[in-house]
Subunit: 247 residues, 2 copies
């Protein structure tokens, strides 16, 4: 049950912050469930015996912190907890990460073709103008929500036949290891923030110019052979990338 | 000297991509210098003997890839290479990272005060309502450009006196180790993308709603004592965060 809120007028903590703290406690303790709708501002301010401006300030603080979310015309809701990926920590694939956490996910292949890559990709994969790569564009859905857009370029020189694989059911890392008859050993990842263009936004049900995490990856087989390059767009309003680092 | 461009009409690579590849080669080889202005579209299309629409498509591809940058009313320029931080790789501080790379940087302290933190911060630092923290807000400039906004909450319980330090000249990590008489051993970092609000945008000379990387960090002393929590906003149009991962 929701703990009663009482203003502590002797506390140095401002009242809006006391309300925000009380709400945070209700959310982190699970008293208020994820997705639950808050009472109207009118009801809440009357019930808590505070003025509406102070309540609004508290709510704004929690929206800023991602604890609450305001949906226009519908009200204010307890936000979903973010799902975290250890992408900055381990060379784990999206599929492996989701399987480990027990989430259901689905892969839609939008494009799969054999191409001559441009010079930038040639340099990343240490191949020439005469070499071919498999180009894949996929969208990943978690719990039925489109979340990640992936573009991959796989060096066919070291993975002949990999283009025959069905990437709606098979993970790219396992296919690479199967067709290369080698092991993925190391990867480099670069993280930056990007604003979505309209086409990308449509793919993951967001709006144009919404911010997403952009991950730029190159993976290597044994003997430092670069085998795959990818560009990944990840929505981080519900998901985030984590890393535990030692000194 | 710039290598002459010649269309290969037998290549499966589309002409705009051949132009983009030729430009990329000029940029990555250093023939075209960082910051150099490109000739006008009219001049370039005449010189390369291609139509202007094809040239524009090639330029768009390179702008999208961050090789070129178009500045309204000024022209198209070779973009600066991104500076990379191994923030997703090592528990290295911003100051240490910049020093290692030989960049000049400067720190402006915007706010420095002792406060009672809210419940969320209390939980992260494992302290109670009665404990105090040092709250710091700083802006970091690299090569005279504002690049990072940092907000830090440092547990005073384990670092008494740290508030007397001058954080324009002393790094937070070294001050923590000095006043706690302990060692920073581990840190957790969470990465997501955010759109700047107007106030944040002003601090790093960007525009409202521009995308930035948001890093959420907690650092620990020996014996797993949480000592510091921070929220960092990093512009990644010129900078990015890197990680080398093994499997």
């Amino acid at each position: 049950m929701t703990k009663k809120f009482k203003i502590d007028s002797n506390s140095p903590t401002p009242i809006y912050q006391q309300i925000a703290d009380w709400m945070t406690e209700n959310i982190t303790s699970g008293t208020w469930e994820k997705g639950q709708k808050l009472q109207s501002e009118e009801e809440l301010s009357r019930q808590l015996e505070i003025n509406r401006g102070t309540l609004r300030k508290a709510i704004s603080v929690l929206i800023e912190q991602g604890m609450l979310i305001r949906i226009h015309g519908k009200g204010t809701f307890v936000d979903e907890q973010k799902i975290s990926y250890p992408f900055a920590q381990e060379l784990i694939s999206f599929a492996e990460s989701m399987e480990a956490k027990g989430y259901t996910f689905q892969t839609n292949v939008l494009e799969k073709k054999i191409i001559h890559p441009n010079i930038q990709t040639q340099k990343k994969l240490d191949i020439t103008d005469n070499d071919y790569v498999l180009y894949l564009q996929r969208v990943r859905l978690i719990e039925n929500e489109p979340t990640i857009v992936l573009a991959n370029w796989v060096s066919l020189k070291h993975c002949p036949g990999i283009d025959q694989e069905d990437f709606e059911t098979v993970s790219l890392f396992s296919a690479i290891e199967k067709y290369s008859n080698s092991k993925i050993t190391v990867g480099t990842r670069r993280f930056s923030a990007k604003a979505l263009n309209q086409k990308q936004a449509n793919l993951i049900s967001m709006n144009k110019n919404d911010p997403v995490l952009h991950i730029n990856q190159t993976t290597f087989l044994l003997n430092d052979i670069p085998i795959e390059h990818s560009e990944v767009l990840l929505r981080t309003d519900k998901y985030e990338v984590t890393s535990v680092l030692t000194r």
